[in-house]
Amino acid sequence: MALDPNAKAAASGPASGPWRVAWRRLRRNRVALGFLGLLVLIVAFCLAAPLWAAHVARTGPNETHTLEKIQAGGEEREVVNREGKPIGPQWLEAGGRFFLGADGRLGRDEMVRLMYGGRTSLLIGFAAAAITTLLGAILGLLAGYYGGWSDTLISRAMDVVWAFPVALLAIALGLALAVGGLNIGPLHLSSGSIWITILVIGVVYVPYMARPIRGEALALREKEFVEAAEAQGASSPRVMFGELLPNLASTIIVFFALSVANAMLLEALLSFLGVGVQPPNGSWGTMLNGGLDLLTSAPMLTYLPGAMILLTVLAVNVFADGLRDALDPKSKARIEAHSGFTAAEVTEGIAP
């Protein structure tokens, strides 16, 4: 789009707020928006699971059809044959039933399992990321603002958790809670609950959020606006959550988005290894595990959940990357290189 040479002179009115500026930056990043669209599509696909299950597939995600026969393509077909081979994709030949085939020797509808599995994987991804963000932000703020022994205590605790490879720590915690569940004070979670998986993933990633937040909080603590607030008698919580937190919001938002991707990948790993989501609940990770037994005879059972994990994590990561570019003022050089306008012109709203 050509730049109006008179637009600069004509520009008048108040300067745009930071969020508006960020939105403009993001709008210009078509790749990020494209992948956001893909993510929305995937979420919508998963949310539509009950509709598809009830009206098209006419089966639930855990219902077995080992001995059932269906009418498809004008003939009767076994959902699982005597040799244990599940039926392949029927597409619309059976009225939408077994659209992607059966998921294995239990004869469950693969499409329904994929959609419901996605709901579980997305729920775990977002919920675990929320826990990571909440705990990480609070601990980072506390450590960065107070400093001293608070910082030492929190930082060393984070170091201990950080010392363990994330995957190994999550596997160990998952195994430990697999049989007896979690019983801490008022918190009671049965061993099959997906909230155990959510908590495990949420907790192991806390140091990855807390440390950068702490670093930023340490830097912001020395700024004049913090001194001013303290001089005016603002309490510590007021300063932390009223002054520091808004300035950390963009960092937190970006880290949250990235955490979603990490959480989904870790859930897939844990479920694949059998210490994440427990049957009969399904997730893309458990489906990967199940598909492995039939890798030679029915490879789609592995490729499909794998592809969903790949696309979702890619979409989240690319969008998060775009979000960081939009929210991070230090990225103006990149904006100028990509758009041909100066960062100020974008900020002023002169550039479309």
Partner: protein, 541 residues
């Protein structure tokens, strides 16, 4: 005329030579060569005193010989106990409490040292000293329990004479299975100075036709012919001498890779059962030429806790038996399962086919309606290995169809048995179990799975917690009697009596397979139902 006679003579001679050549070559197979085999995992132990799994038993069946062994035959013939290092089967006297055997003369270990009668005593003491899982089979020997507790002194119930080769074993009570237990690998005779430690990395000298010549723990091991077998030990006619000169076993974790290697001739044999994914493809392509289905002695079943509602009600247990459809489980096990609805499987002495509960979902639902159990919350336990977890999921579906609120609980396979065998584990309602015979004697199944005295707070094997005095008495009585036709008939009756109580819902026996390369003569390969493939039977075409 003279010319005709000469021609005829030449023809006869030529025919004779042809016959001679074919007798020496083709159908008899080739002697010698190196057999290459693969395992999916390295055996837990290559020490006969410690090995408790089939992988190890297959590896050492032809290397370490006890006083007795199981016949190197297929099928039911392979369940017969025959003499190995002993001259003959034991003489049993003193009301079944004294077993007397004589060691064959002139036997040697693979390092040249003579085999002595006292080596048997020290070998059994080694089993206890190591705290081996096998020690439970020999606790009935006089003084064994004390030795197990103190690890001091010796086991006075075993008396030996190195001069005559006489071995006398005194039991605290008659034990009908003791002859079988003398044929277990735990009772293999080792030199008296074998260290009391796990010798997997450096296995002891052998008495069998093969010795383990090299071990790379976790990766591979090799066999060579026992140099003292041909001259000194081959008098043991019941143990074949073997055809190949060397055997090399590698660990190849992926079973698809193992299949591929056999197809390409890079390996001659795979010990690992073929996965369900490839089973039918391999079977269709190679059955009869390189592939054969084998039936080890085992039973797959669902146990039901008879002490807890709703399975304290016989009608509910019978309903579960009626509800299970073998056709569904056949598919879940990808065709490798042989449906069976009783405790003693085919190949086990005492097996007499019957089916008290042919699949009938309508009847099952009727029984549930009559029983009307108030507690319908059920936890279904299974391990996480396919297809056992799928069998559990199927079972969960069946229970839901019967009107129960069933929840599947999958446990890591390594921890499954300790968890379900621990009475403090909550919600032990119903679950999956597979049981492979330690030896081909019915008591091995009944004692562990159904005797009231087997109920234990930890490592419990009687998971249905059945404690019926009549059944207990019959198991105890038959345990004392040596196995004969009458005992086999009584065990068949016991099978039926227990199934009338329906504490378990057996659904089949799992088969395994023998898959060899095209260079191996499949017809010659022997599969012993307890020990697996017999390495002495492998022969190149």
């Amino acid at each position: 005329m003279k010319k005709l006679g000469l021609v005829l003579l030449v023809l006869v001679l030529a025919a004779g030579c042809a016959l001679g050549v074919s007798a020496c070559g083709g159908s008899e197979g080739k002697e010698g060569g190196t057999l290459t085999g693969t395992y999916a995992s390295f055996p837990a132990y290559l020490d006969p005193s410690l090995s408790y799994e089939v992988e190890g038993w297959t590896a050492m069946y032809d290397t370490y010989l006890p006083l007795l062994t199981l016949a190197h035959e297929n099928g039911a013939e392979g369940s017969k106990v025959v003499p190995a290092l002993a001259e003959s089967l034991p003489k049993i006297t003193n009301g079944g409490k004294t077993y007397t055997l004589t060691l064959r003369k002139g036997l040697k270990y693979s390092d040249g040292t003579p085999v002595k009668a006292s080596d048997f005593k020290s070998s059994i003491e080694r089993v206890f000293a190591l705290g081996s899982a096998g020690s439970s089979f020999y606790e009935s020997i006089v003084g064994a329990q004390r030795f197990a507790e103190t690890k001091q002194g010796d086991i006075p119930g075993i008396k030996t004479d190195d001069k005559t080769g006489r071995i006398e074993i005194e039991l605290t009570a008659p034990r009908g299975t003791f002859t079988n237990e003398l044929a277990m690998l735990y009772a293999a005779v080792l030199p008296s100075d074998t260290p009391i430690e796990n010798m997997t990395a450096n296995p002891p000298p052998a008495t069998g036709p093969y010795m383990i010549s090299k071990v790379e723990p976790g990766r591979s091991w090799s066999y060579a012919r026992n140099p003292y077998w041909a001259k000194d030990n081959s008098q043991i006619g019941e143990v074949p001498s073997g055809h190949v000169d060397k055997i090399e076993i590698r660990v190849v974790r992926n079973d698809s890779t193992q299949v591929n290697e056999i197809e390409r001739g890079k390996a001659d044999w795979m010990q690992t059962p073929i996965s369900a994914d490839e089973y039918n493809k391999v079977k269709d392509k190679y059955e009869g030429t390189q592939f054969r289905v084998e039936r080890p002695i085992n039973i797959y079943l669902f146990w039901m806790n008879t002490e807890k509602a709703p399975f304290d009600d016989l009608r509910v247990r019978q309903a579960v038996n009626y509800a299970i459809d073998p056709a569904a489980l056949e598919r879940i096990y990808a065709g490798s399962l042989a449906a069976d609805h009783q405790i003693l499987p085919e190949g086990m002495p005492g097996h007499k086919p019957f089916d008290l509960y042919p699949h009938d979902m309508a009847k099952a639902k009727q029984l549930i309606k009559e029983a009307n159990p108030s507690d319908r919350n059920i936890t279904v336990w299974t391990d996480n290995e396919s297809p056992n977890n799928e069998a559990g999921a199927y079972y969960e579906g069946v229970l839901k169809e019967l009107g129960f609120d069933a929840k599947l609980k999958e446990v890591n396979a390594d921890n499954y048995f300790p968890i379900i065998g621990n009475e403090s584990t909550p919600d032990l309602d119903i679950g999956w179990l597979s049981f492979f015979a330690d030896y081909p004697h019915p008591n091995d199944f009944f004692q562990l799975l159904f005797a009231g005295e087997s109920i234990a707070p930890t490592n419990n094997t009687n998971l249905s917690r059945i404690d019926d005095p009549k059944i207990n008495a019959k198991i105890a009585r038959l345990d004392k009697e040596p196995l004969g036709p009458q005992q086999e008939a009584e065990y068949a009756d016991l099978d039926r009596e227990i199934m009338e109580q329906a504490p378990v819902a057996p659904y089949g026996t799992n088969t395994v397979s023998t898959f060899v390369s095209s260079a191996i003569d499949l017809d010659k390969v022997v599969f012993n139902p307890t020990f697996g493939q017999d390495l002495t039977s492998f022969q190149f075409k």
